[in-house]
């Protein structure tokens, strides 16, 4: 039910530890998703400003975790939360993203 709305693709990078150092390594590419700016209430309760919090919808079971970095349309976001959900019997993943400009 959700997949017809997935009009963008995303890439996931994850902090990977190697010895005493860690770096962000690519985990997956070209996953399908829908991305939209979070509403006023959700943005406010997360202590952020308009444009900083985004919502991404992707397929159920997608390998995305809190603290991952997601790239959509060349813009980097940090994953703040991941939730499995159902709409009309169709499973999907709801992901909260923070857009960091620095």
């Amino acid at each position: 039910m959700m997949s017809p709305f997935f009009d963008k693709t995303f890439t996931v990078k994850r902090l990977t530890q190697s010895g005493d150092k860690s770096s962000y390594q690519s985990v997956s590419v070209d996953g399908a998703c829908m991305l939209r700016q979070a509403g006023a209430h959700l943005t406010q309760i997360n202590g952020l400003q308009y444009g900083e919090l985004w919502e991404m919808y992707a397929a159920a079971g997608v390998d995305v975790r809190t603290t991952d970095r997601v790239t959509v349309d060349g813009v980097d976001y940090t994953v703040k939360g991941v939730r499995s959900d159902t709409l009309g019997g169709a499973d999907y993943t709801h992901i909260l993203l923070v857009k960091k400009t620095l």
Binding site: Q17, D20, S22
Partner: protein, 139 residues
């Protein structure tokens, strides 16, 4: 000599400790960054002010903060502290061995600085710092 010259010279010292087989994943010239990995080091001019040592010597002191950042979500706080300690020890040794910053300063003196932690989008980060005082001959 100027802030810019010293800032670049310190960044060059930090860069020498990045990459394969080195203690740092990356180094940056400002504290607020989106790092490529951990641990990473940042250097900025300090808020601490210093004046001329003496007017006769015509020598001034510039102070910089070098901060080492290590995330704690993956390695845990105890290991994060050990990693930051090891990096700070290495950087302090490097700065004592090359106390002129390859000629950019008359003498530089690293001193232990503040420690703490702060929340990032990716979780809590431990940091430790060095306060680097650089004496420069003024013309």
């Amino acid at each position: 000599m100027s802030w810019s010259t010293l800032h670049n010279a310190i960044k060059t010292k930090l860069d020498a400790r990045t990459g394969s087989g080195q203690v740092l994943a990356a180094a940056y010239k400002s504290h607020s960054v989106k790092p490529s990995g951990y641990p990473y080091a940042t250097v900025e001019p300090s808020s601490r002010e210093e004046d001329y040592l003496t007017l006769n010597d015509n020598r001034a002191t510039y102070v910089f903060d070098i901060v080492v950042h290590q995330e704690m979500e993956q390695v845990g706080e105890e290991r994060a502290i050990e990693i930051v300690e090891a990096v700070l020890d290495q950087l302090e040794k490097d700065l004592r061995d090359d106390y002129t910053l390859s000629g950019a300063a008359h003498v530089c003196r690293p001193a232990p600085g503040e420690w703490g932690e702060y929340p990032e989008e990716s979780g809590w980060v431990k940091y430790g710092s060095l306060k680097l005082s650089c004496e420069v001959d003024k013309q």
